[in-house]
Amino acid sequence: MELERFLFLTVDGLARGAVLAVFALSLVLIWRAARIINFSQGAIAMAATYLAFVVTSATGNYWLGLVAALLGGAAIGFVVERGVMRYVSSVNPLNSVIAALGVLLVIQAIIGMLFGNGYHPMQVPFSQSPLPWLAGLSISAYDLFVFACVGFVVIGLAVLFGKTNVGLRMRAAAFSPELARLLGVRSNRMITLGWMLASALSALAALLVVPTELGLNPHSTDAVFVYAFTIAVVGGLDSAPGAVVGGLVVGVLLSWVSGYLGATLSPVAVLVLLLAVLLIKPGGIFSVTKERTA
């Protein structure tokens, strides 16, 4: 009985952690592209999830909603980068944080005005009850779907950045925008592309995680953002593998804390973990290079 509960919590934590890892990856993407921690990422993902909700309710098709969320997320990311973040002076690093918080308030207000502040229940394409042929492990079909999505994203990103021309350009623009421009890379365009990609990823993560919680609400991604931020920091903001491993570790940890000590304590656990990691290794566990200051 004890073992069964432990297994259940661990698997549940892995599934949750996998989703959070995708969200953390989106934060890492923007950090690498623009040296900005995008505090409006949660709101962007939340708005894209509302889009999916509207499309799915209108057509009755989950997959159309999924596509709408990805495209909508990318579009919002485009608007936020081209419309706001590009014009924020980078002299003081606090400016971009404050501007992103402003964007967060605006998006939450617009969604609140359009849909009200109540909760909307969301459907999932697969059953959330444990599969009989995996008895004892308590993995549901939806968990498998989540793992498949996350695996697809991780491999896709690895191929994009490791094997393709666009990925190489994006890395160059992130590493040294001026030098990359001299070599014919349109750095600004690459940064915008990074934002669009990151926003689409966070939209996917939100779409996967929101139905397993209370439901859709203008604030439903607030806590998700903080968890993802913690994961990104624990893994080192520059490290994509760190985000994935960090996501799984933090997911399992949160699941154990809420399972054994009480569900309400998980934000406290996140705070303690974040403080502990930052105090012992301020660059994150997977950090290798010293962070650039420029």
């Binding site: 404050i98 501007a99 918080l101 009200g116 996140v270």
Partner: protein, 347 residues
């Protein structure tokens, strides 16, 4: 501005505001008290973020710490049947001390962190607050919060003004004390050290400034100011609950500091006024439009939040020094027009 003009402006302002409490109706007095309470927190935040360069999204949690400390002390004293000024002053001091201790703990961690990392930690702090109050609900009474027995208005005020007038006095007194202390701190040697740390930590360290100590002290003082603000809010509402100190409240405080003009106490004042006046103005505007109840309910609150966010983005891009920066620019322009020989150099 020289010290003497500041003193005169401050004194005249204080007398004028106290005079105002005799004229205003109870609702406006309550709003005035709210402005003063916000000013305590925003002034602390503007010193921490604007002068010392540490961005905190957790000042709502620090204010909440003050509010709960106030609640525990006031209820404890009321059980001992203590009345009179002690029931008012002791809880406020306890709130300041409690918030300062929490700020010291967070500040010790914050001293090692930079920019977005610190913002993330303080963000987690705000989200952890409701978790703590609902986990230990036998102490904090969960989401409902605590009821506080507060000191009533003194007897001699009975015929002259309502409870709100007394609340406004207490709030204004607290805000004045906080602002005077912070102003002296910012103008003096410590202020210079804080600015040096903000601008370049390495250079500050070479010049003999203890960087970590400066950051920790700044965070502790700022938290104490937030605690005073939280205590005043608790005194006014007679309650301390996690819902009153949410993440959005934290963002509003930062927004007030940014829009008013980050790093200046005048800016904190403009921001605090805006924080109270703007939602009120939007509320009466939507009421006058006679919308359907459903639409009105959706606009209520959300419109103000969106407007605040948009202004915050605009200020960061167009006028990074906020309202106070614009006022100062205007004044310098006026002065330089009058006496072209002596153009003051902005600091």
């Amino acid at each position: 501005m020289s010290s003497r003009t500041t003193l005169i402006v401050g004194l005249v302002g204080l007398v004028a505001v106290i005079g105002l409490t005799f004229v205003l109706d109870p609702y406006r007095n309550y709003q005035l008290a709210t402005i003063a309470a916000y000013l305590c927190v925003v002034a602390g935040l503007t010193m921490l973020t604007g002068v010392n360069g540490q961005l905190s999204l957790g000042h709502a949690a620090l204010a909440a710490c003050g509010a709960y400390c106030y609640a525990f002390t006031a209820n404890g004293l009321a059980e001992q049947e203590v009345t009179g000024p002690v029931l008012l002053i002791l809880p406020i001091l306890a709130a300041v001390a409690g918030a300062a201790v929490l700020g010291l703990i967070v500040g010790l961690a914050a001293a090692r962190l930079h920019g977005p990392y610190l913002a993330g930690v303080t963000l987690a702090l705000v989200l952890a607050l409701p978790a703590i109050t609902s986990r230990f609900s036998d102490v904090f009474n969960g989401d409902q919060g605590l009821y506080i027995s507060v000191e009533r208005r003194p007897e001699f005020l009975a015929g002259r003004g309502g409870t709100e007038m007394f609340q406004a006095w207490v709030a204004i007194a607290c805000a004045a004390l906080v602002v005077i202390l912070l102003r002296n701190l910012m103008k003096g040697n410590f202020g210079r050290q804080m600015r040096a740390v903000r601008d370049n930590e390495v250079a500050a360290a070479i010049a003999g400034v203890n960087v970590a100590r400066t950051k920790v002290i700044a965070f502790t003082v700022s938290s104490a100011a937030a605690g005073a603000g939280g205590a005043v809010l608790a005194f006014m509402t007679q309650s301390a609950s996690p819902g009153a100190f949410s993440l959005v409240f934290s963002l509003f405080l930062l927004m007030a500091a940014v829009i008013g003009g980050i790093g200046t106490l005048y800016g904190a004042l403009w921001g605090s006024i805006l924080l109270v006046v703007l939602p009120d103005a939007i509320g009466s505007l939507t009421k006058s439009l006679s919308l359907s109840p459903e639409v009105a309910q959706r606009l209520d609150g959300n419109l103000a939040v969106g407007l605040f966010g948009a202004i915050m983005v605009l200020v960061v891009i167009v006028a990074p020094l906020g309202i106070q920066g614009l006022l100062r620019k205007g004044r310098l322009k006026m002065q330089s027009r009058g006496t072209p020989q002596s153009v003051p150099v902005p600091k």
